[in-house]
């Protein structure tokens, strides 16, 4: 603080001596006075603190003696702690020494035991061998093999070297001897078909460290047994071919028997391997069995191909597919020729997949119980994948399924072509046979593929099903609609034809053609409509079927299947396009031309009415009754031929067309008050009628016309304001202000100035 003060005042002090001007002196003086005040204030505040500081000093003086006591205590404590620590150090080093001594003692004991064991083994092996107790002998060898030979030699080299050496030599000799015995005994047991002995010696191999050898020998033994059974079964199958009930799946049955036999063998011997060979060894046996399986399956598949003329059929279908694509009738195989073959293939594949899944589960289960480190685990998994994926069985099945998909595609497409060619419409039916038939076939083919449980096969077939429907079948419907609905043919004409045919005894061929074309068109329209629904139903039912596959396929396969199924979901929309196209054809050739003359009868009726005319109209309707009657006839005739959905669509179309054309006619008509009233009545009846023939709401379509009638029905121009703007209430105007003025001007009794003056 002191320094600051000096700094602050010193320049002032110096300058004071040099000051000459009275103003400056005065200024310097003022400055000094202000500084003095500041200093005085600071001083007084320092003085205020003095008392408090003194108090604190007194307090500190009082605590000083206590601090000295504390310091002494701490010194004492610290020396105590360091004493204790030295003590602990001493104790622990002794404990460490004790520990070491103890472990040495226990090692020593182990070694003594080992040496004792060694002697015991040496003696035991001899006796056991003499008694032909090979299990016991192998047990001794196993014990000996687990001893740490070098350590034993080290610990006993000086005094006992001689005896130990003899022991080791004897044990090695015994081990070799035992190995030879077990090998030959095992072979002998296999040779004589002595199952008990085979298993007996199989259990001894691992005790002698001969895991691989034991498993290989045992695997070969099991393989030869499987081979025998398989040959026998195949022979039976070949002999029994003929009128046996399941002859159409004879080879599938044979393969199933074979695969089930192998699975049973695995099931039976797995515990044996796990118990005597330890976990992680099963794969060795599985590999050997799979080799045998591959060999046997190949044999059966070969016979299957021969007897079913598989290769020939595959070739025939290949050429037929090309012919089908080129739309040539020649060289096309009857699809029914491959029907049974296809069913047998899916059965074979289904069981093969079941078997392969079983093998994989067994191999993986054994791998997982072996609790290896992660790297070995990964290698093990790769080995299992290899066992499954690179087996001949997998490969054979892939080939079969590949050809199967090709043939199933042909079957499906060709059967659909047949369904189309043999299309018939039953009396009174609205759709024809080809829709039911085509969808039945597609479903049959996809379901058959699903029963093969080949995920890739199902995906491929779902794609083919989609393209058959969306492309081939849809094209048939489209082609029939493209011809258009024959125009100029209506009920009146039909009536005339009937009349003339009664007179002449026959229908003219051109009228017959027209009638036929008309039915064909409407049937195709109906077929397209139900195809939408059938597609949806097909997808739903396939969804369910495919779901059954999900339980045993991984997430990836599931995603694949779902994706392909979803694609099928877009097919109904493609049929909807066809329906829309058909209706656009119908509109231009049937709807528009028929509504036009009907609406013309409205135009021909004046709406600028006298009282007399108005009341006369009440009694004798000038046009509407006739309009509705005609309409009704037309709708009825179509209703008979259209499906419900299409009929609704048709009524909707007609309704739309009427409202459009009538609107145009209204604008061309002159009205007075009574004419407006008349029109309002007419419109109500018309809407009433149309509402009665459809479940769809049509009021919306007539909203504009209804509003026009309201306007035409006004007492005076300004009355419109009761309905407009703020006063519109629940009414939403579909007419623009310009249109409102236009309608108002149709009233001959409204003055155009009044209309112009309206603020809308």
């Amino acid at each position: 603080m002191a320094t600051i003060r000096v700094d602050a005042t010193s320049p002032g002090n110096k300058n004071v001596e040099n000051l000459t001007d009275i103003d400056e002196i005065q200024k310097a003086y003022d400055e000094l006075c202000r500084e003095e005040n500041v200093i005085a204030e600071e001083l007084s505040s320092v003085f205020e603190h003095q008392a408090m500081l003194e108090n604190k000093m007194v307090g500190l003086h009082k605590t000083l003696p206590n601090l000295q006591i504390l310091q002494n205590d701490s010194k004492q404590l610290s020396s105590m702690i360091s004493f204790t620590s030295t003590l602990a150090e001493n104790v622990s080093s002794k404990v460490r020494k004790l520990d070491l001594a103890k472990s040495q003692v226990s090692q020593c004991i182990t070694r003594v035991e080992d040496i004792l064991d060694l002697k015991f083994c040496t003696d035991g092996v001899q006796t056991a061998l003499q008694n032909e107790d090979y299990e016991k002998a192998a047990g001794h060898v196993h014990r000996f093999r687990n001893l740490d030979e070098s350590v034993i030699r080290m610990s006993a080299d000086s005094s006992e070297g001689g005896t130990l050496e003899t022991s080791f030599r004897m044990l090695y000799e015994s081990e070799e001897k035992l190995k030879t015995i077990v090998n030959s005994k095992f072979s002998a047991a296999v040779h004589s078909g002595d199952v008990a002995s085979v298993e007996r010696f199989f259990k001894i191999f691992p005790l002698l460290g001969m895991h691989e050898e034991g498993l290989t020998k045992f695997g070969k033994y099991l393989s030869s047994q499987l081979s025998e059974t398989a040959d026998r079964n195949l022979k039976i199958a070949l002999d029994s071919s003929g009128d046996v009930k399941r002859s159409s799946v004879l080879y599938a049955d044979t393969i199933i028997m074979l695969l089930e036999g192998i699975a049973r063998t695995v099931e039976v011997h797995q515990p044996l391997v796990e118990t005597y060979y330890g976990p992680g060894k099963l794969i060795v046996l599985l590999k050997i069995l799979q080799k045998e399986c591959d060999r046997q399956v190949r044999k059966v598949v070969e016979k299957f191909k021969q007897s079913r003329e598989y290769d020939k059929k595959v070739r025939l279908v290949q050429t037929s597919l090309i012919a089908q694509k080129q739309n040539s009738q020649e060289n096309r195989l009857d699809p029914m020729e491959v029907d049974l073959l296809l069913s047998e293939i899916v059965l074979i594949n289904n069981r093969s997949e079941l078997y392969l899944r079983f093998m994989k589960r067994k191999a993986m289960g054994d791998l997982e119980t072996s609790e290896q480190e992660s790297k070995l685990m990964e290698e093990g998994k790769v080995e299992v994948e290899k066992l499954i994926n690179e087996s001949d069985l997998s490969r054979l099945m892939q080939e079969l399924i590949g050809n199967y998909i090709m043939m199933e595609e042909y079957f499906m497409k060709e059967m659909v072509v047949k369904a189309v060619n043999m299309d018939v419409t039953d009396e009174g039916a609205k759709t024809s046979s080809m829709v039911d038939d085509a969808f039945f076939i597609v479903k049959k083919s996809v379901r058959r593929t699903i029963s093969s449980s080949s995920v890739d096969g199902v995906c491929a077939m779902l794609n083919h099903a989609g393209s058959t429907l969306e492309q081939d079948f849809r094209e048939v419907l489209y082609t029939r609609l493209r011809g258009g609905y024959p125009s100029g043919f209506d009920l009146q004409q039909a009536y005339n034809i009937m009349q003339s045919s009664f007179q002449q005894g026959k229908l003219t061929s051109s009228d017959q053609e027209k009638e036929k074309a008309r039915t064909l068109f409407l049937t195709a329209l109906n077929n397209s409509e139900v195809s939408c629904d059938y597609c949806k139903a097909l997808k739903t039912s396939l969804d369910e079927e495919v779901n059954k596959l999900y339980s045993y396929c991984n997430e990836h396969s599931k995603a694949k299947l779902e994706t392909c199924l979803n694609d099928l979901g877009s097919v109904p929309a493609r049929f909807k396009d066809v329906v829309d196209f058909g209706f656009s054809q119908l509109t231009s050739s049937a709807v528009k031309p028929r509504i036009k003359p009907l609406v013309d009868t409205f135009l021909a009726t004046g709406h600028n009415l006298t009282e007399e005319e108005f009341s006369n109209f009440e009694a004798n309707d000038p046009w509407l009754q006739n309009f509705i009657a005609n309409l009704d006839n037309m709708l009825k005739s179509f209703k008979e031929s259209l499906t419900n959905g299409n009929n609704e669509r048709f009524v909707n179309l007609i309704t739309g067309e009427i409202s459009v054309q009538l609107e145009k006619a209204v604008i061309k008509t002159a009205f007075n008050r009574l004419g407006g009233l008349q029109f309002d009545k007419e419109l109500r009846s018309l809407v009433g009628y149309l509402t009665s023939v459809t479940t769809w709401t049509i009021r919306d379509k007539f909203a504009r016309l209804t509003q026009m009638a309201t306007i035409l029905n006004l007492e005076k121009v300004s009355e419109i304001l009761d309905y407009w703007g703020q006063n519109s209430g629940p009414l939403t105007w579909r007419l623009t202000p310009t249109e409102v003025r236009q309608i108002l001007s149709l009233r001959v009794d409204f003055r155009s100035e009044d209309i112009k003056r309206l603020k809308l």
Binding site: Q324, Q471, T479
Partner: protein, 200 residues
């Protein structure tokens, strides 16, 4: 459902071992898989990419090249929006097989399919097919050409992004001309006249 503007199907074809699976894994997972087994049947991956701020979902079907899977893989051609035909620049045999693959495309794919010819494994020293040759071949058959390395991550992103952009542009153009969109029949180049025998 999911949040994307366009969905396109991309199918990879070409001889076994040319690196189709590696290309797909590189693009979808950003890795070069060490020693995976050969593809069995058809494999399937999804990746959503961004094209001019719009989400475009690519459904990628990776097929096995071996003959025995041919009929399974053919089933994917028709609905494919883009095909990636791959050969190995170090394997003359894979290049010589291209005409067979083109024949398959001709037979089964839609006429509007976008086709890319890809020469893969350009990182290897022993290149057998010069860029020029691949380029010419692609031009002759109206394909877009690109050389890649799945191993060194060269042009892989570009390949798939070019496809996504190309298809998106096409889809947008089609939306602008709705009549053409409705043109009947859409779908494959396969003659749809299969049934013309039964015309009325």
């Amino acid at each position: 459902m999911e949040d994307y503007k366009y969905l396109f199907k991309v199918v990879l074809i070409g001889n076994a071992g040319v690196g189709k699976t590696c290309l797909v894994r590189r693009f979808t997972e950003g890795l070069f898989p060490p020693g995976q087994g050969a593809t069995i049947g058809v494999d399937f991956m999804i990746k959503t990419v961004d094209v001019d701020g719009e989400k475009v979902k690519l459904q990628i079907w990776d097929t096995a090249g071996q003959e025995r899977f041919r009929s399974i893989t053919q089933a994917y051609y028709r609905s494919a929006n883009a095909l990636i035909l791959v050969y190995d620049v170090c394997c003359q045999n894979s290049f010589d097989s291209l005409p067979q693959w083109l024949n398959e495309i001709e037979l089964y794919a839609g006429s509007k399919v976008l086709t890319f010819l890809v020469g893969n494994k350009v990182d290897k020293m022993s290149k057998e097919i010069p860029t020029q040759i691949g380029q010419q071949f692609a031009q002759r058959y109206d394909m877009t050409f690109i050389e890649t390395s799945a191993k060194e991550c060269e042009n892989v992103e570009k390949l798939f992004m070019d496809i996504a952009r190309g298809l998106t542009k096409r889809a947008r153009d089609l939306n602008l001309q709705p009549e053409e969109n409705n043109e009947f029949p859409s779908g494959g180049s396969t003659p749809i006249s299969t049934f013309s025998c039964c015309k009325i």
